[in-house]
Every structure is written in structure tokens, then in C-alpha cells.
């Protein structure tokens, strides 16, 4: 058993609006000189450190936790789960 670092990124489903990202883009970034930026999406990231047998099981265990504890609401959000060696 080893420690893995698992990143959970929670963001709105595609097609669901992201007012915060839009405000940061329009009222901050595009008001400056950075006209080549076309989109900003906000997300929340949780970093888990978990002890598991391998990367795959670390990833699936964290997914299980996220689903079970409603760490994200599947009605509006999607999660991306990436595991790394700690």
C-alpha cells in the first residue's frame, strides 16, 4: 500500500452556465490587454492523499467517496479525477 495524490476537479456540466468564469473573462481579463483569451471556466479542486494498492484503485476509491458523500451534485456538476504518485 502506498500513498497516492488524487485531484478531484468539480466543474459545471457542459452547457450549464458559469457566471463566475464569464465575469472573470469579460470584466477582468478582456478589459486588459489579453485579447487572445476566449474562455474561462471556474472549478473547485480537492486534493486527496489516499493509501491504496495502485493508482487505479486510488482513483476509483476517490470516485466512490465523491459519489457517496455528494461531494459534487451530479445534477449540475461533473468531476474529473486524476491520480498521481504522491
Amino acid at each position: 500500500m502506498v500513498d497516492y495524490c488524487v485531484h478531484v476537479t468539480i466543474e459545471n456540466k457542459p452547457g450549464i452556465s458559469d457566471p463566475e468564469g464569464k465575469t472573470i473573462l469579460n470584466d477582468l481579463v478582456l478589459k486588459g490587454t489579453h485579447q487572445n483569451v476566449s474562455k474561462i471556466n471556474t472549478a473547485k479542486m480537492l486534493k486527496f492523499t489516499i493509501t491504496e494498492n495502485n493508482k487505479e484503485s486510488a482513483q476509483s476509491k476517490v470516485r466512490e467517496i465523491c459519489d457517496e458523500l455528494r461531494i459534487y451534485n451530479p445534477m449540475v456538476s461533473v468531476v474529473t479525477i486524476d491520480a498521481f504518485d504522491a
Binding site: G15, I16, S17, D18, P19, T23, N26, N73, M75, V76
Partner: protein, 721 residues
Amino acid sequence: MNLESHELEELKSKIGREPTSTELQIVAAEWSEHCSYKSSKKHLKMLPMDGPLVIKEKGYDSGVLDVGDGYVITAHIESHNHPSAVEPYGGAATGVGGVIRDILSAGTRPIALLDGLRFGDIEKDQHAKWLFKNAVTGIADYGNCLGIPTVGGEVEFDECYTNYAMVDVAAIGFGKKENLIKNHAKKGDLVVLLGGATGRDGIGGSQFASDSLESEDRSAVQIPDPFIEKLIIEAILEARNEKLIHAMKDLGGGGLSCAVSETADSLDIGIEMDVDKVHTRESDMHSDEIMISESQERMLIVTDSEKLIKLQDICKKFRIDCSVIGHVTFDNKMHVKKSGKTIANISTDIVANATLLDLPSKKPIYLENIENTKSFPLLSDYSEIMLILLASPNIASKIWVYGQYDHEVGIRTVVKPGYDASVLRLDNGKFLSIKIDGNPKQCYINPREGAIGCFEEACRNVVCTGAKPIGMLDHLQFGNPKDPEIFWTFLESLKGLTDFAKDFEIPCIGGKVSLYNETPKGSIKPTPVIGVLGLIDKTPLRIQKINSGDCLIMIGNTKDELGGSEYSEYIHKFIGGKCPVVDFSDSKKNMNAVLEIIKTELIKSAHDCSKGGLAVAVSELCMTNLIGCTVSLENVPGDKLDNDKILFSESHSRYLVTFEKKNLQNLEELLKKHNVSFKTIGEFGGESIQFTADSKPILDLSVDKAQKTWLNSLKEMVMHA
């Protein structure tokens, strides 16, 4: 989204041809229960809606009251139950947004919010806790950001809401009468869509709200954007000041379909529009999706081409989008085009007026024996029970909730949350008092008397601030109306409210019906929520701190009415017993007496006696003033009853009045003149809440301990365990 087969046949016969797919979508949205009120509308007409202060204008989504000196108050109530049950944060927040735009539509600035929240048992149910916590945050994040104070509300927990959420929001607006939007339109006027982009969120929401919540697999979730709502408010009010708006409507349930058809129908005009002109969030949206999308933070405005330029300048200033989507015609048709090609062309009269139903009703079987009383074992000491009640989720202080709401912004809030009703100062020197109340426990046992009780309780709260009730908002929330037993409870509640409103001459100025509130375990209890607005011409009762030696008078009779009480349901887990009944004549006498003694400035505070009965009401006075009190039960007005009934019965029309002893004689004379039932029942002092019966103590609780328990209990329930 689908029409029922008989509705489809009806539509075909009305238009004399096959409807197009867009027409089908438009009509299905507009004929849904949520938009058409088809089950309830026939009956709602019984409520009195006129009064000396009521201002009526076609197309208003909110009630308007004349408060004198050229000023008006607007008020409306809405719920967002289904969306909040699946996504409590966004559902509750967008619920706030919707009702605010109804206030804005009349041309008034929103100045206050109140919300009624109901969930399952948060002590046992993690999901109920999650719903509660997120709904509160959603409301806080939305209202706070807009700078509209949330000044009051109520929170209740009952197992009938397991896996469900009831989120009711009432909004109050204020403005000059001359600035009210006089909804009108001329041929050639332009139809403008202003605000957020139209996206796929909330597709089919109104239909969703009209279905029972069977599965979570729904996409009708709306994302709140309070920042754009704030910009819309400021832009619209600036446009109103510049007189740029001929007519205005908020986009709510049913999206463009409902806003366009209802505007056209109420103004007796036609509207021709092109879906390609609508600013959308995604480029690949189908025209039907554009017509029924329930994306939030959008307003429909009718203006003319000259004013449009100024309106566009204002929108530019606030960086909000505005698109001219169509124009006014005189054929009374809703004509929708895409790239110049007609995709819907149908009489607005047909779209906006679904055939009203006359659903069957039948007295529910469960009601036959429910009011049979049950006696509970009498105790010699109720201190422990009292402490349990003060910690119980329905009675514990709601400071954890209202402490998260900005209730001061706008600098109008004279009486803050946590008291009977909230009081706002108005620009003409008068004061507005507001409260919303519900009581599903009593409404379940007796739908008629329970509903009247909610109405009277809201009146009592407003009266306690020195205000005379001038208007009522009703929000009638029930299960599936096609079940005759449920429909019967709806009708009974409505009849009760009508009788009270007529007798007390309090017009219903706005309301809402929300049906199909069902959980996996069945229907919710009947949940009418009543809002009452009161007006104070001169000064509101300024609550003064109670000192040692001050006295306590109780006005109104305590009766053998433990049905639906917290004592019966929370302590003894018994649903049933005699539901409290309002005696109209006593109720009126008591209200008038309390209003007069407030005017004479003889008293320090007036407090309504309701949830948890006399014992809780006295404790609340002690806990908020950090002082003890001794009450003799034999002095409590009413028939001779068992001690538990005197302590915990939730009989209506009762008030607790505190005052300096030297005013006793004057007060007694005044109350006698009003011919009300009253008696001095106690005196303040010491450090404990004490009740005695025949000179023997039967309840003795330290104020300090009671206060800590009462203040912290709800927060602990949410944060821990």
C-alpha cells in the same frame, strides 16, 4: 414536454389544423399546471382581491397597494420546491431571483425578502440536512449579492418533506405611484429581450414543476447569477425613470412562450418574433428549446424605436445584452419565425388560456378520527420537557439562518428578524410590517382551520408591531390535485382563507398555487403559507428591554387544543387531536385591543403565542431579555385545563404583553373597554423561567441554560452529528 392526448385534440380543434412542433412546445409549456393554474383557477376567484388600497393594472405579476403620499408597495410570493429538492443551492437562489423580477416588472424597487423553508427531519436525515444547509446558502448568496435584505421568514421540519424541499420566497417592492409601469402597447412597438443569454438550463422546468418528483434524472436545473440580476434591476429602474418602458414581464416558468403569449393576451395585442434574434449561450440551440428555455435573469420589455436607443445605452452602461426579438401586431396572434419562416402562428387567447378543470374532491378518510383527543401522562415537573422543546429544530432560534442573510442593507429595517414580524421604514414616514406563516401540522389535521390559523398567526405577528393588516399573500402548496382527497384539502384551505379574508376585510393581493408536491413516500401535508402586510401610520412599537418588576398580561383564551402542537408531535410523537380553531369575533376584538394599547405607549413589548404554546412564548421573552419570570397557570385566561394543555396548547388569538407595573391599572381599563379576555399572569425578575400551579412549581429552568440551548441547538444540528 407533452400535452395529454385530450389536450392535443382540444388544441387541434381550436386551431383547426395540426399544430407545428414549436406550437406544441409553446402550448405544452403554457398549459402546464405551473403556468395555467388549470386545476385551481376556477376556485381561486372566491378570494376577495379588492380593497380601498389595492391598485389593479393589467399584466401585473405582483400585488400593488397604495400606502399614501404618492407611494406604493408591491408584493408577491413564489416557490421553487421541485428545483430546490434536486439542487438546493441553485433552486433556492433562482427562486429568490424569480420573485424579485415580478416586483421589478411593476416598476418598483425590491426592498425586502422573506423566505419559508421546509425540509425533512434534520435530526435523523443527512439528506434533509444537506438540503437545508445548501438552500440557506443559496438564498444568502443571492439576496446578499443583490443588496435586498432578507428580513424574515420561517423554517420548519417535518417527516412529510423527507427527500423534498419547500422553498417559498416573498418579495416586497416600493416605489412612487407615478412610476408604476402602465402596461400598454401600440402597433409597431418593439419587443425586447433583456438580460442573461438563453441557454439549455431549465428546459421544461414548468412542466417539471407540475410533475411529481419521481426520479432525479432531470435536467431542469437553473444556475443562479445574482450579479446579472443586480445589473438588470439597476438598468430597468433607470429605464423606468426615463419612461422607456411601455410594458414589461419577467421570464419565469415556460420561458419566452409564456412571457410572450401572456403579455400579448393581457394587452390584447399580437406579437411577431424571430427566434434567431434571441441572444443564446450556445450556438446550436433548436428553436423549440429557445422558446421554452427557463434560463434565469431575463426580462421582456415592450418599447418603441425612439426609446429603444436610450434603452440600449442603459444596457451598454450596465454591460447587459438586449435583443429586439419582435414587434407588436394587432392580430392577437403569437407569431414565431425562424430565419423569416413561420414556425408557430397561433391565437394568444388559445395559448394563454388553458381550459380550466373542475376536479372532483372527496373528504379524505384519514380525517374521520384524526381529531379524537389523546391524553398524555401528567407530570409534576415539565422542566426537562421544556428544555427538549427549546432545543427542538422547529422551536430553536433560527439565528443560524437569518444571521447569514444581510437583513440591514437598504437601511429600512427597524424591527430585525427574530421578533414577531419585521418592520421597514418607508419614505413617507410610515412603516410596513411583514410576516409569513405556515403550519402543516395543523393543516394536516384540519385543512380549513389550519389554514385560517396560519392567516391569523401572520396577522397576530404584524399586530404585535403596531400594524394594521392591509393585505395578504397566499401560497397554496399541496400534492397531486387529481387525487380527490388531496383536492378536497386544497378546497377546504382555500375556503377557510376566503372566509377569514372577507370577515377581516384583508384583500388577497397576490398568490401562487404549487401542486404535485409529492415525495417518494406520497403527498406532502397541506402546506399553505400566508404572508400578511401591515401598515403603521405613525410609530411602530419600539420594543423595550424588560426589567425586574415588570408585569406580563395574557390576552386571549387558552383552549383544549393540543392537535398539531409541537408538544404532541415532537414530545409524544402523536399526530392528531383537536386542531386549534380561530374564533373570528374574539380574534378581531383581541387584535383591536392590542393595536390600541400599543398606540397608548403603555407597554414594552407584545408577543404572539404560537408554536410551543404559552411555555415557549414566555421563555422567548425571558431568553431575549435575559431575565426570569414567574407565571401562575391558574391565572391563564380560558377554561380550567390540565397543566400540559395550558403550557403547550397552541390556541390562536393569544398575545403576551409586557409593561411597567405602574401602567397596570390603565391597561386593565383599556382592555376591559375592549371586552377581551385577559389577566395578569406573571411578573419578571430573578434568573429562572418558572411556572406554578396551585402555588407549586411545575417548571423551573435557568434562563441562561435555556437561552444557550435555544440559541445554539440548530447550528449544532447542522454543523455536527
